[in-house]
């Protein structure tokens, strides 16, 4: 048997010139080279996704309004309820929470449960599996592009609304350290949501329709336990205790709690710890499912 690419070519054609033998790079050089390569591939994929997404400008605009719609409905509902029932959350708190919510949702949103599971079901995953690049890179690039584009549409809408209700919003501490911690919490939310959703998507190797499992594990519970339907601070204390240990809080509510200065540095550090552990757990489960899934994959269609 043979291993070199040139040896696979038979006698008919002229022998292509072989590159001079390379000495194997050291570990540092290898990491630098691999990082540089990933960066180049990532930039090209993001660029390609941008080109595609720009072809659907109308859809992006509609999507941004859709992203605002739910929080607007919720804030109006909660403002009405709290006026009757009272509570520690003021009108301004609700307004701020539901103005920032769509931005955090957009940043952490992940839809591999639809795209990756569809690729598995229809066999279009084949095209990625045949390339010397992990198939998830294509999804990461697509997510990056879509999020940036959607935020470009969404942020001006949110800023305009914030300006309109400005006097009613509570004062915010927007110092650099807080913004940095907030950015880290957003990154954690994004990574956690991606690992969680992608792991659920990988059950598509065995389950025909993953969407239902996603509704159970990642949609309905997420809406309540993540802080979408209601701010977690307004939940009964036993429920808040539960949310501290589940992953959902760290995909949505946690960055908002930091933005609003509602948690102590110690609580924030604990939150980062629990969130990171969930990331690791989903990652490990995802890796196992991926390996076992490829064994079960039939590659039909595609």
């Amino acid at each position: 048997m043979i291993t070199s690419p040139e040896a696979l070519r038979g006698p008919p054609g002229p022998t292509p010139t072989s590159p001079p033998p390379e000495t194997p790079p050291g570990p540092v050089a290898w990491v630098v080279r691999a990082t540089r390569r990933r960066w180049r591939i990532g930039s090209r994929l993001v660029s390609a996704n941008w080109q595609m997404a720009l072809g659907y400008r109308g859809m992006l605009l509609v999507d941004s309004f859709r992203a605002m719609l739910n929080p607007l409905v919720l804030v109006l509902a909660w403002l009405s309820v709290t006026r009757q029932a009272g509570g520690e959350f003021s009108d301004g708190d609700y307004l701020l929470y539901y103005l920032a919510l769509p931005v955090v949702t957009k940043v952490s949103e992940c839809w591999t449960v639809f795209t990756l599971s569809e690729e598995i079901r229809t066999g279009t995953l084949n095209r990625h599996l045949l390339k010397p690049l992990h198939p998830l890179w294509f999804h990461v690039a697509e997510h990056l592009t879509q999020k940036i584009l959607q935020l470009l549409h969404l942020v001006p809408v949110v800023a305009t609304l914030a300006w309109a209700v400005g006097p009613r919003l509570p004062a915010l501490d927007l110092s650099w350290p807080r913004l940095v911690v907030m950015g880290a919490a957003l990154a954690l939310a994004t990574i956690l949501r991606f690992t969680m959703t992608t792991t659920i998507a990988m059950t598509g190797f065995w389950i025909e329709r993953v969407e239902n499992l996603n509704l159970v594990l990642n949609a309905a519970i997420f809406a309540l336990m993540g802080g979408m339907v209601v701010p977690l601070e307004t939940l009964p204390s036993w429920m808040r205790w539960v949310t501290d240990f589940l992953p959902y809080r760290y995909t949505l509510s946690f960055p908002l709690e930091i933005l609003r200065g509602r948690i102590t540095p110690g609580q924030a550090a604990g939150g980062f710890g629990v969130g990171a552990m969930w990331c690791l757990a989903w990652f490990v489960v995802g890796q196992r499912l991926w390996r076992r899934g490829l064994l079960a994959y039939t590659a039909h269609g595609g």
Binding site: I2, P5, L8, L130, P132, A299
Partner: protein, 341 residues
């Protein structure tokens, strides 16, 4: 010196477990509680050995196991049992060194990004396969010229015609210059002219780079034009491996003789030569035994009345149909294993 082995499989076997469902609502309910599982044996004990630089036709009727074999050889699915070595690698491990050496073309939507022009897909592939700017430019220009796809490069893939898309697909699949190329029905759905262009390109490319090619096609013109060696599988088993001419000789041990006389000789009796397929005035088309062909031709020329005489191989399609019909004895294709869950 013999070329090194590029592809080798030994006792390759692949099963698929399926859950068949009978017609009707009752069957759906039964299936919900007591699903019946069946094991389909798609590939059974396949031994292959293909040398580097060979261009081999991989033939068989629908459901014979061709595509399943290609998927195992390219690392998309693992075998149930048996061994595979492609370019010195076990394909299912999908190491980068292996994936850099192969390409699989299945249909016209394998590589191209649907909403982007092919030029962009080529640029993406350049990064994925780590080609230098110079390598990329040279290879892209070469493929663009050979496949005549210059005008298509800047048009969105979804707006290209089937033929243009197929040629762009080939360019993308070959950009990293794979040592081994798996082609699954590369001319399917294309008109005759486009089929010919693709065949000409593949011949040209193979002559230039000596790539090992394993080709499946239902178009026998593809097989006849591109390959000398064919491997035929039916019901997952190899039923033939050898030169194309030997395949037709084995399946149809006859040749077609067409003779036109200036004037039909007195006492000429075509039935004595073989089975008369067609007669039109002084022109006879007769199916004759392959081994008698030289003797019969000499005898006819000796009459001095022949104005034209040709000997043809029987059409490959017919040879294949005969081969599959001969191998159509029911085998242990599936074993039913009711599974109560």
């Amino acid at each position: 010196m013999t070329a090194p082995t590029a592809i080798r499989t030994c006792a390759l076997h692949r099963d698929f477990v399926v859950t068949p469902k009978d017609e009707g609502l009752l069957a759906s309910f039964r299936n919900l509680f007591w699903p019946r599982q069946e094991t389909l044996q798609a590939v059974r004990g396949l031994d292959l050995e293909i040398q580097a630089g060979e261009m081999v036709g991989f033939l068989g009727p629908n459901g014979a196991g061709k595509t399943t074999t290609l998927k195992m050889l390219s690392g998309l699915i693992p075998p149930t049992s048996g061994t595979i070595e492609v370019a010195g690698h076990q394909p299912f491990h999908r190491e980068a060194a292996f994936l850099n050496q192969i390409s699989l073309v299945m249909g016209q939507k394998q590589n191209l990004w649907w909403d982007l022009p092919p030029a962009e897909t080529l640029a993406i592939h350049r990064e994925i396969y780590g080609l230098s700017a110079e390598e990329f430019r040279q290879r892209r220009d070469e493929l663009v010229e050979m496949l005549e796809i210059g005008p298509c490069l800047t048009i969105q893939a979804r707006k290209l015609s089937l033929g243009q898309r197929m040629r762009c697909e080939l360019a993308t699949a070959l950009l990293h210059r794979p040592g081994i190329l798996f082609l699954d029905e590369p001319t399917i759905g294309l008109d005759i002219l486009m089929q010919k262009r693709i065949r000409t390109f593949l011949l040209d490319y193979h002559a230039r780079f000596g790539t090992t090619v394993l080709l499946t096609s239902h178009y026998m013109d593809d097989v006849a034009a591109l390959t000398r060696r064919v491997i035929v599988i039916n019901r997952g088993r190899k039923v033939f491996d050898g030169p194309l001419t030997a395949l037709t000789a084995r399946a149809r041990p006859e040749r077609i003789l067409t003779v036109t006389f200036q004037a039909v000789p007195a006492g000429f009796s075509p039935e004595n030569l073989g089975r008369v397929q067609e007669q039109e005035g002084p022109r006879f088309r007769i199916i004759i035994a392959r081994e008698r062909a030289p003797e019969i031709a000499a005898h006819l020329y000796a009459t001095g009345a022949v104005s034209d005489l040709t000997l043809e191989e029987p059409p490959l399609e017919e040879a294949m149909a005969d081969l599959f019909a001969g191998d159509a004895t029911p085998g242990p294709e599936s074993s039913s294993t009711p599974d109560r869950a």
